[in-house]
């Protein structure tokens, strides 16, 4: 469909920093038009847009786990959907292994891409068809894509189930999803992704619905699979502490933009963007806090604004405790703050740290936005 895009991209031969990168998003934008009414179109009023993803750059290195963290409306899920080609970007480029796949569309053209980039959804209860056996579910992508002979498919299904920790595979294959626990179902979903032997897995809240005792086993499985198969993960979650335990790097999104990105430990220990700082401060921990510690929390007022009305200047400025004049007019780029960490904040320009906020009285006053 497009000359410069091969349906079978080969790894980049570029030496240097590009050599270990597998997935790259550049200037990615997803703007959804707001459907206007009849009056609007008669009056030729401009139609609004929802700026779900509003220009992000993100590079995943081979074998890396990148945690994409954000609240509802941050655009994290839309970004994941663009990566797995379920949503079309309105601008920007997506490249896999150095090959531009931005314009690759349609079931046939995407066959090879879909094999290499797989998605794991949040809800194992909804992803699995209750009428299909586990074997049928895991085999389906092979059948749809016409991969392998029946015997090869059987063996790939067995391998995938065992790799996902469902052993012996033969016992699980004939069962139905309702016979499985939540943790086992999520393993079945993982097996369904593994059967294609992918390079990149986009995992959207893969453990959020599971009990903590089961979560650790699944996170462990994902990391084991990375070690064994060299997988790369884009781990999408609203839970900062979950990203922190599994990710090598964390990218924090707010209203369609990356506000901060860097090595997980650094982003949590020394956030340079006020939004990240606030998220870290309110992330609950299983450790009682003293009144003094509690007073240092930054509970932001209101909720993430509508992506159809992105504030001018820095998009976080109406809720930012540090806001000053420049923030209201000019949007800050991501400033390098050292150690591979960057933050989109005027206060981070030149690698500066955030000033210390005065502690607030507790309990925090709770006004609502108009």
């Amino acid at each position: 469909m497009d000359e410069h895009v091969s349906s079978n991209p080969t790894p980049s031969t570029d030496p240097g920093p590009a050599a270990d990168e597998i997935l790259r998003l550049e200037g990615l934008e997803v703007h959804f038009p707001v459907r206007g009414g009849l009056i609007d179109s008669l009056l030729r009023r401009p139609r609004g847009v929802v700026r779900a993803v509003d220009g992000i750059d993100l590079t995943l290195r081979r074998g890396e786990v990148v945690g994409l963290v954000g609240e509802s409306g941050s655009g994290k899920t839309t970004t994941g959907r663009v990566v797995v080609k379920l949503t079309r970007q309105t601008a920007g480029r997506v490249s896999l292994d150095g090959q531009d796949v931005s314009t690759l569309w349609g079931t046939r053209a995407l066959r090879d891409y879909r094999r290499r980039v797989q998605l794991i959804f949040q809800d194992p209860y909804e992803t699995l068809n209750p009428k299909h056996t586990i074997r049928e579910f895991v085999m389906e992508p092979l059948v749809v894509n016409g991969i392998g002979t029946p015997a090869e498919r059987e063996s790939r299904v067995t391998d995938a189930l065992e790799a996902a920790g469902l052993r012996p595979a033969r016992d699980f294959a004939a069962r139905y999803p309702h016979e499985q626990s939540g943790g086992q179902r999520q393993r079945v979903v993982i097996a369904g992704a593994l059967v294609m032997d992918p390079q990149v897995i986009v995992a959207d809240e893969p453990v959020s619905l599971l009990d903590v005792s089961i979560r650790t086993e699944l996170l462990r499985l994902m990391l084991d699979l990375r070690a064994e198969r060299g997988l790369t993960y884009l781990f999408i979650t609203h839970d900062l502490s979950l990203a922190w335990v599994i990710a090598d790097r964390i990218a924090v999104m707010y209203l369609g933009k990356i506000m901060e990105i860097g090595p997980a430990e650094q982003v949590i220990r020394s956030p340079h963007n006020p939004y990240t700082q606030a998220l870290v401060s309110v992330s609950p921990t299983p450790e009682p806090r003293t009144a003094g510690e509690r007073a240092k929390r930054t509970i932001l007022v209101g909720e993430t604004p509508d992506a159809a009305n992105v504030p001018t200047g820095c998009r976080f400025n109406p809720r930012c405790p540090y806001v000053f004049d420049r923030c209201r007019v000019e949007e800050p780029p991501l400033f390098d703050v050292g150690g591979g960490q960057s933050a989109a904040c005027w206060l981070a320009e030149g690698g500066r740290s955030l000033p210390v906020l005065p502690a607030r009285p507790d309990p925090i006053p709770d006004p609502m936005p108009a």
Partner: protein
């Protein structure tokens, strides 16, 4: 708040304590809520599920108690038993639930109506499911005020406005339908409804689970603020120990229908005694601690149709001794903490009788791999 309540249904209310009107027969000197040996069983396909199997706890005035545990541990059933909002196949088999000294277990469903919402109310997790989508917010708050408290339409409207403001929703938003509100606003509306009849106890059943972190922080701060302002007592049901650490005075950890450990949040979180509490805490990601330690609890909870004899956690417990699989551990109190585990026999000083086996609790091992040069480590299997 109490001004609105006082006019209503004066025939029932007799005693007043701290500005609150207590139900007839209430003993003003009695503790607010005492639950003893509560057993709530479900009948399912001819079998009996021992969902709540001998749970005791108490709640003082103005206190916040967190009930923690994983899915199926009986925490929600315990809470729903209090006001008997149980599904038809569930039954309270044994035990007592005493509110101001009045046992609610023996009350008829009709008699219990006096207590539901007016003494004990509940905030559910999914506000979208609990709110009626075709009614305006204020109408949904007005209804219980006119029907249960017998307020006039006008008084009820005024009170609904006050309640909305109390939970941080501008009064004029009362005309909105639930779908027009964000998740956080809907949860605030649910809290306003729970407060409508000026209850003594509000139960929150995973009240912030579906919300974003920042909105969760707002709602928890609101609950805390209301607790102080209105002198409420709070029971917070959640699988999320960190939410309890942030908001509660005491915590009750449940496992497979029984109490594993109960005590002040400070004591239980800083020095967990029961192996289940230890494991559960160690399985929680904690951004203020080392990220290379995240524990696994091997196995899964028992089938409560056929609970194992002895301690129900024994099959998954790294400390299990022969006695654990035979004898139900008694609940033993050490100062501020009550624990049901053979490691802490009656008369002991509350320290563990055996030391941790290698590679078990305390010996937490990395979730995140160390640099490739080091040999890979395994997660504790107990």
């Amino acid at each position: 708040m109490s001004a609105a309540t006082s006019g209503a249904n004066g025939a029932v209310a007799e005693t007043a304590v701290g500005g609150r009107l207590l139900p007839k027969l209430a003993d003003p000197a009695a503790p607010l809520l005492v639950v003893e040996n509560l057993k709530t069983y479900f009948s399912l396909d001819g079998a009996t599920v021992h969902a709540v199997d001998g749970v005791s706890f108490r709640l003082e005035r103005g206190e916040a108690l967190g009930i923690a545990g994983e899915s199926g541990c009986g925490k929600t059933t315990t809470a729903l038993s209090l006001i008997r909002l149980l599904p038809p196949n569930a039954k309270i088999e044994e035990g007592s639930i005493k509110l101001y000294g009045i046992d609610l277990v023996g009350k008829s469903d009709n008699a219990l109506r006096r207590y539901r919402w007016r003494e004990v109310s509940i905030v559910f997790q999914g506000a979208m499911n609990a709110l009626n989508p075709v009614h305006r917010l204020s109408d949904q708050i007005v209804e219980p005020l006119t029907q249960r408290l017998g307020l006039s339409e006008k008084a009820a409207r005024r009170r609904a406005g006050e309640l909305l403001e109390l939970v941080g929703i501008p009064k004029r938003r009362g005309g909105a339908y639930p779908h027009e509100l964000s998740g956080g606003m809907r949860q605030r509306a649910m809290i306003a409804m729970a407060l409508a009849c000026d209850p003594a106890i509000v139960i929150g059943d995973e009240p912030t689970t579906a919300l974003d972190v920042m909105v969760q922080a707002q709602i928890l701060a609101l609950l805390e603020d209301l607790r102080h302002k209105l002198g409420l007592s709070l029971i917070l049901i959640t699988h999320d120990l960190s939410v309890i650490a942030e908001t509660c005075d005491r915590v009750l950890v449940m496992y497979a229908g029984r109490v594993a450990e109960e005590g002040s949040v400070d004591e239980v979180f800083r020095r967990p005694r029961h192996p289940y509490t230890q494991k559960l805490l160690a399985a929680f990601p904690n951004i203020r601690a080392d990220r290379r330690t995240l524990d696994v609890i091997p196995g899964s909870p028992p089938d409560l149709r056929h609970p194992p004899p002895g301690c129900r956690f024994a099959p998954r417990c790294p400390f299990a001794m022969p006695v654990c699989t035979e004898v139900v551990p008694p609940e033993v109190t050490f100062g501020q903490v009550r624990v049901a585990c053979h490691l802490y026999p009656p008369g002991s000083d509350g320290t563990q009788v055996t030391t941790a086996p290698p590679n078990a609790i305390g010996a937490t091992v990395p979730l995140v791999e160390p640099p490739p040069a080091e040999p890979p480590l395994e997660i504790a299997r107990g």
